[in-house]
Amino acid sequence: MSPCNTGDNIMTDATGPMMAADGRPLKASLNRALRRQKLRALALIAPLLVFIMFTFIIPIGQMLFRSVENQIVSDVLPTTVAALENWDAETGQAPDEDVFYALTQDLMVAVEKKQHTRLGSRLNYEMTGISSLFRKSGRSVDDIGEVYADQFIDLDPRWGEAEFWADLMGAEGLTPDMPFEMHPDVFTTFARAAPAYAAFAATIASEDGDDPREEEPWNSVYLALYEDLKEAPKFTNAPKGIEIMSEFAPQVVDFETIDLAAEFADIDEDWVDPAVWQTIQTYAPEFTNGYFLNSIDRQKTPDGAEWRPEDEQIYLKLFWRTMLMSLAITGSCILLGYPVAWLLANLPMRTANVLMILVLLPFWTSLLVRTSAWKVLLQQQGVINDLLVWIGIVADDNRLALINNATGTVIAMTHILLPFMILPLYSVMKTIPPAYLRAAKSLGATNWTAFWRVYFPQSVPGIGAGSILVFILAIGYYITPEIVGGTKGVFISNRIAYHISSSLNWGLAAALGTILLALVLVFYWLYDRIVGIDNVKLGG
């Protein structure tokens, strides 16, 4: 089969695919040429893409991730969380000694690492009071086990020496200039004391740069040691430290003991409240839907999600209000913007340009300035009320409340978002030839019918584009509602900002933000289904 040259550098094979001049399949050649074009296009937008990636997409992704992330509980209280697994909240009893033992060990490390307050704040979102509970406990937890430390030292002063402990637990052949290392065998001999000592060693090394060979262990380590020795008979042929074990095990039976639960109850009664433990247990997993449940006024309980008490429900109401007010703002933007856009599109060029500048003027003024100006205008003693009183529409002692409520937000936001409605409307109306209206009238339609049946339907794409813009901008607006909204006129975004900057509950803020984003997407989708996104025109 010899390819025949068709004269325009394309050769066709009698049976095969089209071939380019160089004998390669035409499709492949075309793809190659296109790929180069695409790469060049990509190179052009690459800087922006990278910028957006790092300043926008990654941070937002992280933020959204926070809405389900919950590692702090299992990070700070690893053994407690594990011990709690067997506890059943249904019993209505505080957990057993094992859990309190684990809590002592975890809390010591956490206090040293200053993590307990953070955990306290985290859990405080779910149950008020936990924050102070942790703070308070942080101050006293290092006393727990002191009783054992004293008795061990009374028994043998070597227990008070850092060196003795380090020899017992440390690896063979450690020289003073080497960092401290645990001997692997002691974890078998001292099932509790070894991990406790290891945690102690690691924590003081990382937090204060101290060497365990020079520091007396925490009281909690003595507690662990006592627990081990108490059950000594189990460890008969463990390799290291066995002689110490056998030396002291018989002697600790006479020790004065303590009840850990009681110790904690001493610090704060809340520690024996099953509700606290239930909260810790519920929020133990690394990922949680708790923030999302919170965002819709529900809460996690052992029996699944439940509604929050009536008086604590705020978010659904806020979402609902945000949407209603955004719709109201969109509606009033349509009502006010449509005639202006119509004028703009139908006036002679020069007049229209002047008007256009007036429309754009707000764009060139700071948002904050405009919003503050509304504050001045709308106050009870403000310009508008003064005017109404002066005209006599409103009594002086009955001035309208136009600000610090929903009315104020709607008024100010309508003003601020109006250009976003007018511009797309204008650019669509500009493309509707006046001949249509004339045609309609010549066919016998009154002015109104001609407008409603002929002009208006053609301007709907502009209304659509403007509405999407205004609605989506409004639903996430923050500054204006913050300034003029008072309590009755704030949006969900103000609540998000509050959680970001005041309550520092970023997880909840992230969950609220995610829901808001989802809402916008749902609206977009609905809009596409009902109006059709192809019908949206931002220009020509």
Binding site: R438, K441, S442, G444, A445, T446, R453
Partner: protein
Amino acid sequence: MTKATDTAFVEFDRVQKSYDGEVLVVKDLNLSMPKGEFLTMLGPSGSGKTTCLMMLAGFETATHGDIRLDGQPINNIPPHKRGIGMVFQNYALFPHMTVAENLSFPLEVRNMGKSDRQEKVKRALDMVQMGDFGGRRPAQLSGGQQQRIALARALVFEPELVLMDEPLGALDKQLRETLQFEITKLAHDLGITVVYVTHDQTEALTMSDRVAVFDDGRIQQLAPPDELYEKPQNSFVAQFIGENNTLEGVVQDIKGETCIVKLDSGDIIDAIPVNVHTVGERTKVSIRPERVEYDKSRLSADAHTLKAEVLEFIYMGDIFRTRLRVAGTDDFVIKSRNAPDQTRLKPGEMIEIGWLAQDCRALDA
């Protein structure tokens, strides 16, 4: 063809129009049309044709003067009550309605019942041979099809007067010719009165009962096509309609139906005085290219002749077109039929040309 019998159906009475208060776009327009007439407004761009149409339709108001429809002044009747059908240059079919909805629109606003409406829409669509296209949107139609729909829509509510503003301007030549024929036929079949605007003179000549030639806001001549072509009243019309040769000179003598003109080159020719009245007046003499004769045997013995040099000979199939230098002008054109006995002139040849005095019209300078 003109039915000058009825009283005037459409009447412009000393109408003036100015958009800006400074320039008169329409100056002193007088026009009266009988019922059933097909009248075309023809004129160069900007001469005020659309403006006149818009005043008639009610979208512009006359600055001065009266417009009467069927004897009633309509200056104060809003457009939608005038009952005038209109076809726009770019069709103005409503893009968001189907063809059938477009057609039923004027019936709906007249509160016609649904079955009547369907019936009429169907009839109107059939009338323009677009019966199968009722469900389409205007954007799914070709230009010619859209034009037909626009026509049907202007006719479906049975107006007595239909205005068309360059309805065929955007179509190619062949389609234009087909539609020209269809529009005239429809207009005559339905007996409607049509005011048609175009700046295509062939269109004006072939379609109309009468043509109004517009220039400078005035009707320069209002006459049936043949009269317009053969007896232009002034040099603008002579120039504007068809091809025309112009020679300039001074009137030397007027004797009743003929006059003698001394051209600027010194030559003397015969002409009929159309709008020259006094001896010594400057004039532009107009002769149609196909009325120029160069075969001496066909000229009368006493006719004045001019010497001419052949500059160019163009073979155009059915006719020959020859450009001559005559009396100092280089663009004197003659046309001769391609007949077996016709001589084909050669460039450089010297000939003598002449014409019948009645074909040569002495017009305003």
